[in-house]
């Protein structure tokens, strides 16, 4: 029995050693000629019609913009943690000029690999660790979330809105708070019920969480997940929903009233353009509606004109560069003062947000 395995593996190992000798001799291939090469590392498949779908749409816009001067590739379904480091290292090793990693859990992996390849440019979406050759990028999604809250607050009849949320982390908490502030701006009696799923991408869990909320009597489902499942669950129950990531109305139907959406194309085009022209510098980019990075998806025909007008006015204010989502007075969930009148939260305070505002039904697990 043992001999059998030894025999097989001996052949495999010998052959591989021979190949390894050839392989290492060739070494990594970095060329100055030929197209600029950029690789994207995705947490889910582009077919999720949400988070990864939008990043991949941005990648395609890069190809359309630069044509033969840029070559892009991607790898999907990469596990967060140790596996990501292997994948990122392989791209760097193979001579890619730039690597994008589009999930928070890739941060350590990318930070580690970036040190080994000083001539490769790394960009990590949604993290906070940077190097000379590694930058971060993300968007002020709380702005369109606030706007989508205004729509939900205007449209709810039960005065109760459900929110399927991935993780109790500042990014998601900030979104829930912005949404709730938007809801209560137009409807001070409405509440927002939160359920944590502890996953970004899990169609079944996302759907179950939406159903649990609908059972509690909410009539609109909002979400912070990667797929369209919460929207579909709402539709099947005859409820309406607020999408996220992309224009979910196109995939689910007009029960999706609107939704905060990403638009990565312009950012990817500008940062890759900068890198091609040697004008790239490491930075922590946090773009808003003004920059076109985040936006509100088109309204469903179900949204009345009066609501559209109200929201359009607020949208215009963001586009003009005003940003007063987290300006006081704002009361916290426990009734204490969260932001005093006349004050606004700094970027740092927003990035570390760890308390709910008044109107949210749900808890942030204590550390």
């Amino acid at each position: 029995m043992r001999r059998r395995i030894f025999g097989l593996l001996a052949v495999l190992l010998t052959a591989s050693l021979a190949l390894a000798a050839c392989g290492t001799a060739a070494g990594p291939t970095t060329t100055d000629e030929g197209p600029f090469r950029a690789a994207f590392v995705y947490i889910g498949p582009p077919g999720d019609l949400g988070w990864t779908y939008e990043h991949d749409r941005g990648r395609q816009q890069v190809e359309a913009e630069f044509g033969d001067n840029v070559e892009t590739t991607y790898i999907e379904n990469v596990e967060q943690g140790p596996d990501a480091a292997r994948v990122i290292r392989q791209y760097a090793q193979e001579g890619y000029d730039m690597v994008f990693a589009t999930s928070f859990g890739y941060m350590d992996a990318m930070y580690e690999v970036a040190e080994e390849f000083p001539n490769v440019i790394f960009e990590h979406c949604s993290g906070y660790r940077t190097r000379d050759n590694m930058g971060t990028y993300f968007g002020r999604m709380y702005q369109p979330r606030y706007l989508s809250g205004m729509v939900a607050g205007s449209m709810t009849e039960a005065n109760s809105i459900g929110y399927v949320a991935a993780f109790p982390i500042p990014e998601v908490i900030r979104g829930i708070n912005a949404f709730t502030l938007g809801v209560r701006e137009v409807n001070p009696d409405a509440e927002v019920r939160v359920v944590w799923t502890y996953t970004w991408f899990d169609p079944v869990t996302e759907r179950d969480a939406a159903i649990a909320l609908l059972d509690q009597g909410v009539d609109i489902i909002a979400q912070h997940q990667d797929t369209t499942e919460p929207q579909k669950a709402a539709q099947e129950r005859g409820a309406m929903s607020i999408g996220y990531n992309s224009d979910h109305r196109a995939f689910v139907g007009d029960t999706v009233l609107t939704g905060p959406a990403w638009n990565w194309g312009p950012y990817y085009i500008s940062t890759i353009g900068a890198a091609m022209g040697d004008g790239w510098e490491s930075r922590e980019y946090w773009g808003g509606m003004q920059d076109g990075l985040v936006q509100l998806a088109d309204f469903s025909p179900r949204v009345p004109q009066a609501v559209r007008d109200l929201v359009d006015t607020a949208t215009q204010s963001f586009l003009n560069g005003n940003d007063e989502v987290f300006c006081g007075p704002i009361t916290a969930q426990d009734g204490s003062m969260f932001v005093a009148a006349g004050e606004c939260l700094s970027d740092g305070e927003m990035l570390g947000m760890n308390v709910f505002v008044e109107g949210v039904i749900g808890t942030i697990p204590a550390q």
Binding site: M1, I5, A20, Q93
Partner: protein
């Protein structure tokens, strides 16, 4: 007319040589069909996979990174299976090993001398894995509770607990998920690339187990209990005691895998520990025919398949799902093939069929 499998009296020399070669050829052929259907040239794809795994020093070290936890969990599972104790809880034992090692690295560093932390963290990982496997072992030995269910269910408990820790209880303040980094003295030294000292643990333990199986009284007892518990009882072997002790060691091996993984690779507790090593270990143990040295080899091959599998996406530009299906297709004939080294296929007329004998054989295989 019927096709009948009967157990070979002696293992055929010809089968030992031919079966793996034919299985491997069938594997490549079936995988090739899949690749052609996906619009790729199979030869180019296989070449890319092979070079991705073994074609560079980075590839080799990454194969080791995947191979170390596969070796250790494979050893743990093989050890339990020798006793016909179906421990499919290696995943949970590995996860708790990672949790315990992280706990020591994170919280004992201020109280104890720094040089003690790394060995204590490794030890804690072993103990946690052992206890997590020991629970079903005691239930089995004392109350005859079926271990297949208990070990499987405890996986989910362990994984949910681990997720709760890095998402909530132990999360580093301020941001998303994951604990603080371990202090540097708690890092397991690396040899090359990310390949760490854990490889020595795996190799030494494999040789020790191999020797023990062959030459020690314990190895003899395992063999008797596994093949004939009644005989073991007559020989005066305490089966309950043997099961519990052996399964504690089985769990400790998986716990060690988890500890080394966090101390050597991630250096903090975060997502990416419970990625299926404990389940792949079951395939490895079977393919290695429960032989510890075979486990090392098969684990390396399996790690190569996992690392090389990246190329299906990176080089061949095929979707991730094709890679996963291909990996399954390559394994299936190899597993099925091992059947033919132990059993011979015969064509028989139904009336002459000695069905009872066969069923007994098969029944024994399945229930132990």
């Amino acid at each position: 007319m019927k096709l009948v499998l009967h157990k070979r009296e002696t293992v055929s020399k010809r089968a030992v040589v031919l079966v793996p070669i034919v299985s491997f050829a069938v594997s490549l052929f079936l995988g090739g069909i899949l690749l052609i259907l996906s619009g790729a040239n199979p030869l180019v794809a296989y070449g890319a996979m092979f070079r991705g795994a073994f074609g560079s020093s980075v590839g080799w070290t990454e194969v080791l990174v995947k191979g170390i936890p596969l070796m250790l969990t494979g050893l743990g599972v093989a050890l339990a299976f020798r006793l016909r104790f179906w421990n499919i809880g290696a995943e949970g034992q590995l996860t708790l090993g990672a949790v315990a090692a992280s706990g020591v690295a994170l919280f004992w560093s201020q109280r104890l001398p720094s040089w003690t932390i790394l060995p204590l963290a490794i030890l804690a990982g072993c103990v946690a894995g052992a206890l997590w496997a020991g629970l079903p072992a005691v239930l089995k030995a004392v109350l005859k509770v079926d271990e297949t269910l208990t070990t499987l269910m405890l996986n989910y408990v362990a994984i949910l607990y681990y997720e709760h820790l890095y998402h909530v209880t132990w999360r580093a303040p301020g941001y998303n998920s994951g604990t603080e980094r371990f202090p540097e003295f708690a890092w397991l030294p690396r040899i090359a690339g990310r390949a760490h000292m854990g490889i020595f643990f795996a190799l030494i333990l494999a040789v020790v187990l191999w020797w023990m199986f062959k030459h020690s009284r314990w190895g003899f007892e395992l063999k008797i209990i596994g093949s004939n518990p009644t005989a073991a009882r007559y020989l005066g072997i305490s089966i309950a005691r043997s099961i519990v002790l052996t399964i504690l060691i089985s769990g400790a091996l998986s716990g060690l895998a988890g500890a080394l993984e966090v101390l050597g690779i991630a250096r903090r507790l975060q997502q990416g520990v419970a990625v299926g090593y404990g389940y792949t270990a079951i395939i490895i143990a079977w393919m290695a025919q429960l032989n510890p040295l075979g486990v090392i080899m098969v684990a390396m091959m399996m790690a190569g398949l996992l690392v090389g599998g990246d190329q299906i996406q990176m080089r061949m530009r095929l979707p991730a799902s094709v890679g996963v299906v291909l990996q399954g297709m390559l394994l299936l004939p190899m597993l099925a093939g091992s059947l033919f080294t132990e059993y011979a296929l015969e064509i028989k007329r139904p009336e002459k069929l000695p069905v009872a004998g066969l069923q007994q054989d098969v029944g024994k295989e399945a229930t132990g």
